[in-house]
């Protein structure tokens, strides 16, 4: 049966593959700085995302913070909208849209999110820029780390860690200002009297920014990111990934500038190793697609520069697909294969969900009504042969102007609400009122009868909401 298997099976299992690769045994990656088309894209994304992130809390709208996810008030203010916990539906749709965008973009061009927009990438980019400015280029940094401690080295390291800490604290402060009003936080800064938890979360978020972007870097992507583990299910042979053109590059080897590769029976790869030096995760793209590759395209920029110097055509490392490499497709065929059932379905779902989201937002009624029958006081008979039920009417005003609401009851002949039938509710506020409702006794309706409370704002009667409840007639 097992005739081909080696006859001497080891009795003890082989030692487990190195288990301590996480965090402990790690070769520090000294990333070489790179310039070029994709580096520009990465920097553009750094600017866009960070101007948004650091800037949004400072914007004002209607005399309040424009974007504030106010946890204490349990209200999310986003420009003109005020969301309540009851609007969690919108959040759910938004999360589904985000998930489908991820599927969509990953199916088309791999880890675009990781390479350009993920906060881990963006902050690592910023932190590496600081490192580069203070410690110098890759060679200088390696030399500095090898050199013994000296006042100069100490000063350089202190400047770097200090700058990182400053960015981190600012990041933590900005993060907390999305959840706790910035004006309050600024007051806390002036008087140096933070709430204990606010200070804690600033340091917590800032600390993790420092740890992830300064210290751990590629290890976060390799070991901690859940997305890196399942991204392969969204890949198919037509997905654009960063690819080394092995057929064109091999056999690799050094040669003089401008030498025709064929004349020295070599491929186009000059084996300069710069694609490895620029890689933030420290892999060699020439070994093929690897899960560590975050798709940042730094190696494309680096290789294109080398190809330019060698006067070879660009694109030895490029965005390409498995099929394109195998079948020698040109750009036209690759683009044509972007439109395939998988991407079309993702795209379709994405469009439908986005339309539903926009429609939901546009048709959201800025008024919510809740009616509860008071269970502690049962129906009772009052003067004039009337039956009285007690209700709690709750009105939420989701606009940013105080509004007066008018309400009434219907469903039984002669039903009426005692007392004032108007209620003033503050801007983005909620008020409840106890209502005594009376209806003439009707022996045919003993038990529960359906009634409706109707509520509308005084300044806009067309916006009328009906809330169903029951009216009890005693036996």
């Amino acid at each position: 049966m097992n005739s081909t298997a080696p006859s001497t099976q080891p009795v003890t299992p082989p030692p487990p593959p190195e288990q301590d690769s996480l965090y402990a045994v790690r070769q520090k990656v000294y990333v070489r700085a790179v310039t070029g088309l994709f580096a520009n894209w990465r920097w553009a994304l750094v600017w866009i995302t960070q101007i948004l992130f650091y800037g949004l809390p400072w914007l004002s709208w209607n005399g309040r913070q424009a974007v504030l996810l106010h946890l204490v008030e349990r209200k999310f203010y986003i420009f003109g909208w005020v969301f309540w916990p009851q609007d969690v539906f919108f959040l759910a749709i938004l999360l589904i849209i985000s998930a489908y965008s991820l599927f969509f973009f990953t199916a088309i061009a791999g880890r675009l999110w990781c390479g350009y927009a993920c906060p881990q990438t963006v902050y690592t980019e910023i932190f590496m820029w600081v490192e580069q400015k203070i410690e110098g280029d890759r060679n200088k940094r390696m030399k500095l780390d090898k050199s013994p401690m000296s006042p100069r080295k100490f000063a350089i390291k202190a400047a770097k860690y200090g700058s990182w800490a400053a960015i981190s604290i600012w990041t933590g402060f900005t993060f907390v200002s999305y959840f706790s009003p910035l004006s309050d936080l600024l007051r806390s800064v002036q008087t140096l009297s933070f709430g204990p938890w606010e200070l804690f979360w600033i340091l917590f978020y800032g600390g993790f920014t420092y740890l992830f972007a300064g210290v751990m870097r590629e290890q976060v992507c390799k070991y901690m990111c859940p997305y890196a583990r399942f991204q392969s299910v969204m890949f198919d042979p037509d997905t654009l990934v960063i690819t080394y053109d092995e057929a064109r590059g091999e056999p690799r080897g050094a040669r003089k500038k401008g030498v025709e590769p064929k004349s020295v029976s070599k491929g186009d790869c000059v084996d300069c190793g710069i694609c490895v030096q620029v890689c933030p995760t420290g892999i060699d793209i020439r070994d093929g697609l690897q899960y560590e590759c975050i798709g940042c395209a730094a190696c494309i920029d680096a290789c294109d520069q080398v190809m330019d110097k060698m006067e070879y055509p660009r694109g030895l490392i490029r965005y390409s697909t498995e099929n394109a490499i195998k079948k020698g497709w040109g750009t036209k065929e690759v683009v044509a294969h972007v439109f395939r059932p998988r991407t079309l379905i993702y795209g379709f779902v994405l469009v439908v969900l986005s339309l539903a989201f926009v429609w939901g937002l546009a048709s959201r009624e800025p008024l919510r009504v809740d009616v509860m029958r008071d269970r502690s006081s049962l129906a009772r008979e009052v003067e004039g042969g009337m039956i009285e039920n007690v209700y709690e009417l709750q009105i939420m005003n989701m606009t940013e102007q105080p509004r007066t609401f008018v309400f009434g009851a219907r469903g039984i002949d002669g039903i009426a609400i005692e007392g004032d039938k108007r209620l003033q509710v503050d801007a983005a506020g909620m008020r409840s009122v106890t209502l005594k409702v009376r209806a003439p006794y009707d022996p045919d309706k003993v038990g529960a009868t359906e009634v409706f409370f109707e509520v509308y704002p005084e300044d806009k009667p067309s916006l009328k909401l009906s809330e169903k409840t029951t009216f009890l007639f005693p036996r």
């Binding site: 299992p13 288990q19 965090y23 402990a24 946890l71 204490v72 959040l91 938890w197 859940p226």
Partner: protein, 81 residues
């Protein structure tokens, strides 16, 4: 160190999700602690809630790691690197 991260990191992720869902549905001022209403301010309740969730999730991860040991590791604890 590796085991510690394997316990703390997944539980952190899950605790974050649970925290968001739990406090979306439940208002912290409507919670009761041993029969009396919770009187902390909202940020404190959210924070304590998050750490409670993290702790619970970490306990689960710890149990997973505990049961994941191979027969060899249990029989020969001294040979473990």
């Amino acid at each position: 160190m590796q085991k510690l991260i394997q316990i703390l990191w997944p539980s952190f992720l899950v605790a974050g999700v649970v925290e968001a869902i739990f406090f979306t549905v439940i208002n912290p001022s409507e919670l009761y602690f041993f029969g009396s209403p919770v009187r902390f301010d909202a940020i404190t309740t959210y924070s304590i809630g998050f750490f409670a969730f993290w702790l619970i999730c970490a306990a689960s991860s710890l149990t997973t790691i505990y049961f994941q040991r191979t027969a060899n590791e249990i029989n020969h604890p001294e040979t473990k690197s």
